[in-house]
Symmetry: C2
């Protein structure tokens, strides 16, 4: 048995590559001497090929290298990111086919990344993947935080269970969605967060998903071996490949400290450097929008009840009777622009502005939107001029209804229309089943589309926030105009029946690894029936928890999602949302345990001000944090927005307290967190004595 070994720069991780009997490539991983990945097979099963890439390999060559550089992201949690790893590239030869592939491993201090590389070869120019057969063999029946594997949705509630319990819990975990395709009773999605009995936090995901189907993990719950399960195309194939090419990186993050998983930048480091030369137009955005009122059912995206089937170019909306619930009207948009201007928000999103919402969903409709024709009550020019006069940007909305060809056909015109009307960012959406029919949201063909839309947007200097698109895999490093994605269960579900109270303690482990989420926090009115009597949904979160999300859910794109009238009722708490930064120089995870709590502290970009957020889970707890991250010798005024002692996500979510104290880097805080609760702290450097007058100092 040939074996090659590699250790991480700090020597805590070690991996071994070995050819097993029959020329089967395998790898293992250890952390501080503990086994993390037991011997796991590598390879790909091919379609229509005389021989797959699974066995009968010999090692033709091995190369090792070390890499260490620091790069500056255009936006992010930190001002600079160190990319340090040791690398092992194993060239495998298959005598029978004369083919060579390379398995490239990069071992970081926070985990392992590896991928398959297919060098250009005359006898191996094209191939079709039947299935990728990469294994991740677990060492035991770990605790998993998981959502069901699905070709079309990522918007499930997280389930916490033993690996052996995935199968019995699967059916219950598959809740309804507007487009969904399950495939296996033990299939789960990445990033998958695991915790071993001996306290290791393991996270499985992928990086740099480009022109390849998204990977799921299918568990053999007898052996506890996960195997890759790619998303198929319309005819069941899983990847059409041309050489030279590579797969995405398969990633295994590991630590005995959950905070290290959250702080890891490995996924970004495995992506290519920024390809956009001029990044002056890429800017973090805090925004409000005409959105939550439709999500809750208080108002509507559509304009009329009179048109059962819109024909764009033919249907004349000036001739039909409006139903009176259309939110994207000029007067209402101006109200949001006024609110944004008054409170210092950068931008306003408006959904439902363009014709087609009467029949946009569920009809497999090809020409569903044209992305340039407004409803009669939405005056594009007037809104453009009004927003400009108020110093507020407008955010465009492109719901595609998953009619992907239609979107591509109109994309150039749509982006040009945006630029002509002062829109520099777009929220795109892919609700419902994909057109062309038979394709899935995460198949290679559609993954390719999201990338196409992103790169074309960059050509137009447009920032993209793509909803229902494939989960991010760090591509924002390469295309930093990807300022947001949804790709998980966002706040909207709080108006669709509610999410679990500990949901926000899991999203950063399960979704933010690959890039920021447009989670749309900031809901102050938890009783949705107050907005729409017919909607009995309840937001399972305290108001203080909602504030904390602006820190715990890192994103360069943050919405204050609730209605202006609800913020006006709690302007003292709203002050935190106004104050909180959206771009950062430093970030520290102070506490973290998946499913239970996350506490983060971040220093605003180019400033000495800090913001802290802490979210809890199902039960109350006391958070204990040190302010040692503050600059020694400086004094700061901390405004603490916290759950009141009687707060509870279900029964008393709006009970909060606000207090000001002085803090230094010696201070320590012990803070009560209610069930489904949290707290947020704004920490401003005290520039003079007056700033701290009358305030107690936190010891």
């Amino acid at each position: 048995m040939l074996a090659q070994e590699l250790t991480s720069p700090n020597k805590q991780l070690a991996m071994k590559f070995a050819l097993q009997a029959g020329g089967v490539p395998t790898y293992t991983l250890t952390y501080k001497g503990k086994e993390v990945i037991r011997p796991s097979r590598l390879g790909l099963e091919l379609k229509n090929d005389k021989k797959s890439l699974l066995n009968d390999f010999t090692v033709a060559d091995t190369k090792t290298a070390s890499f260490d550089e620091t790069w500056k992201p255009v936006w992010g949690e930190v001002a600079q990111i160190r990319n340090q790893y040791n690398e092992l590239a194993v060239t495998l030869s298959q005598a029978e086919t004369g083919r060579q592939i390379i398995v490239r491993f990069r071992l970081f201090d926070d985990g392992l990344g590896f991928r398959y590389e297919f060098p250009g070869q005359k006898n191996f120019a094209y191939f079709v993947i039947k299935e990728e057969r990469t294994q991740f063999a677990m060492t035991g029946d770990h605790t998993a935080f998981w959502i069901p594997g699905d070709y079309d949705t990522q918007e499930y509630d997280y389930t916490t269970s033993k690996l052996s319990e995935i199968r019995p819990l699967m059916a219950k975990s598959i809740t309804g969605n507007l487009s969904q395709t399950s495939f296996s009773p033990t299939g789960v999605q990445t990033s998958l967060q695991l915790k071993s009995a001996d306290g290791l936090y393991i996270n499985l995901h992928e990086a740099a998903l480009i022109n390849y189907p998204a990977m799921h993990l299918n568990l053999n719950d007898t052996t506890m071996v996960f195997e890759s399960w790619l998303t198929p195309d319309a005819i069941g194939d899983k990847g059409y490949m041309q050489t030279p090419s590579t797969t995405p990186w398969r990633t295994v993050m590991v630590s005995d400290d959950a905070r290290a998983i959250l702080a890891s930048k490995m996924i970004y480091n495995l992506n290519e450097p920024n390809k956009i030369k001029d990044v002056s137009w890429i800017k973090p955005v805090k925004y409000v929008g005409v959105w939550w009122e439709m999500i809750t059912g208080k108002s509507a995206w559509s304009y009329t009840d009179e048109v059962p089937a819109v024909q764009i170019g033919t249907t004349d909306f000036t001739k039909v009777k409006p139903h009176g619930r259309h939110a994207a009207n000029t007067a209402n948009v101006k109200k949001y622009i006024d609110f944004a201007a008054l409170h210092g928000f950068d931008a306003v999103l408006v959904e439902g502005w363009n014709i087609g919402w009467e029949d946009w969903f569920g009809n497999s409709k090809d020409f569903v939107f044209d992305f340039v024709t407004p409803y009669p009550d939405f005056n594009v020019a007037e809104i453009r001029d009004y927003a400009k006069s108020k110093g507020v940007e407008m955010i465009m909305h492109h719901e595609t209804s998953s009619s992907v060809r239609n979107y591509e056909r109109h994309m150039d015109t749509a982006y040009k229309f945006m630029k002509a009307n002062g829109y520099n960012a777009v929220k795109s959406g892919y609700v419902g089943d994909i057109l062309p029919r038979g394709e899935n949201h995460y198949s290679q063909w559609i993954v390719n589309h999201y990338q196409y839309a992103l790169e074309k947007a960059a050509d137009y200097k447009v920032m993209v926030n793509a909803h229902e698109a494939v989960r991010p895999t760090g591509i924002a490093r390469t295309y930093p105009n990807l300022i947001g994605n949804e790709s998980a269960r966002g706040t909207e579900y709080q108006a669709f029946g509610g999410s679990k109270p500990n949901h926000v303690t899991l999203v950063p482990f399960m979704r933010l690894q690959g890039g920021p989420m447009d989670y749309t926090p900031g809901i102050f009115e938890m009783d949705i029936s107050k907005l729409n009597p017919e909607n009995k949904s309840h937001v399972n979160s305290t108001l203080a928890n909602q504030l904390a999300l602006y820190v715990t859910m890192y994103s360069p794109l943050q919405m204050a999602a609730d209605l202006p009238e609800n913020y006006n009722r709690f302007l003292d708490a709203f002050q935190f949302i106004k104050d909180v930064a959206v771009d950062w120089d430093e970030s520290h995870y102070l506490e973290a345990e998946p499913g239970q709590y996350i506490t983060a502290a971040r220093r605003a970009k180019g400033r000495s001000d800090w913001f802290v957020g802490s979210v809890g889970g199902d039960t109350s707890r006391t958070s204990k944090v040190s302010f040692s991250f503050l600059e020694p010798g400086k004094r700061y005024v901390a405004t603490i927005y916290a759950d009141a002692p009687n707060a509870h996500y279900k029964t008393n979510p709006q009970a909060y307290t606000i207090r000001k104290v002085v803090v230094t880097n010696k201070s320590k805080l012990s803070q009560y967190v209610a069930p489904g609760g949290g707290y947020a702290i704004g920490i401003m450097e005290a520039k003079d004595k007056d700033a701290t007058k009358g305030l107690k100092t936190l010891k």
Copy 2:
């Protein structure tokens, strides 16, 4: 039983609509009192609907109307076309669903057209077609001229058989193609030509195929009832419909004279009038091209053997070794431009000019061409300027490799590139299996694409000649920039093993009903091994037959397909190709019998000159025609290019005679036609006595 009757303007055709027991809509058709269509069901089977559109109908309303107008095509066989019909519109109600549909019949003197119309209804806004169930019940075991039904190719040799022989002959009729999908042992394509025992010529096809799958016909060979069989999408569905909308027209042409079938303009009449306002840029084209040398294998589309997998944007063709067989090089193209200029051709087509031909086929390659990047030896600007200096137009070539999304992504750029470089017409191609995978060449999704490409071309004032696209259905009336299609077995198959000698006596019946074909006639060297010693194919046609095709195969786009060097060997015969017109004021079919012969006479647009073409079938015959179509009192010089007495398509194809005679409208010709032979006549008005000096007059 409710029945509505309708007769054609000349009363020779009569149809009857009737509701049978159970509310089943049916129709019948007679011609001169003879039954043509026995009682045949109408209706559509729906998917996921509680009730289909097949039965339980009542007649809610019937309306009749008469229409008579004459319109002028932008190009065509005739200067003006009369569109005269009587119409019956039957509104059918389905009580259980509350739905209404309309069946609209138009009865012309040359046939019947009918379609389903779906008015906009609140309770019937969207539906999915499982199958259209339109029947065409034959009155007996007719002779059929047919090709196998297929979702991906139309390029089969025609089989002549009884209807009852379709099943036993099917397997043999399905010859190999680069993309093909058969579906039924009795499934055939339209247009389908039939002949009854009592001498009726019946032709089944469709008109105005827009945003709907192409129709095949599936035969119940016990009852001799054809039923519509639509082309499915990737998941097997056959049409996603939104109301208001209509199906294409289903057409039944009928006559006791085969010539009337060829002369019929019913398919065009069932299409919408021209939608292109400025048609000044749409012009018939006679052209040569860098094409036959690749088709025969004498030269190549590709540039090098060194690149097994092209990556557009990465592969640098200036760095690779050319294989030396690349035909689309500047010097060779100039040779063709010189030839075109010398002989008065309008244009030169060049295939293989753009990078990507090394791996373009069979790899299911998405980004296969970019349509703007030439090989290093093709100098776009130099060729543009040279052609312009010679007064010759260039014809662009866009092979898509059926990667439809890729073509749409690059279409705007490609059309702009064309206009910037003086290309006003494009030959597009859809060779190989469709991408997105699972779709078919004739499914609704892809039919929609061809239309998109055509309409977008019109925006750029580009004429389109789409190969391997769906068979035309008269859409060129509405979009006259569609100057050609392939959509049948063209001349290229003469270099791929040969077509049947009577093939060209069938194409006008089986393919030209819906629009012109870029058949690419004019092959003078029938022994392909003279061009490429490795290609043993033989062109099953005499040289005189090749000349006749310029008249019998009406098209505003006519190629002289052979190599300049082959034309230079037979310049006396080549003179006919130089002379023949490509646009016409008058056309007369003098003789016609499917599978045996077609003789046509046409008067050149705006001129008094006439051209006659006659093609024969497998055996020799004597063609007898009258020149009564000529203007009385005028004398003409006729140059007759005919088979020599010893000519034979197989053994002596290049044996021809040329003679000049004087003809008047009293003249009659008795002309020998060899097996696989034909003759062509150029008839120029004699302006003075000198013109006819020494010539005999044909009595």
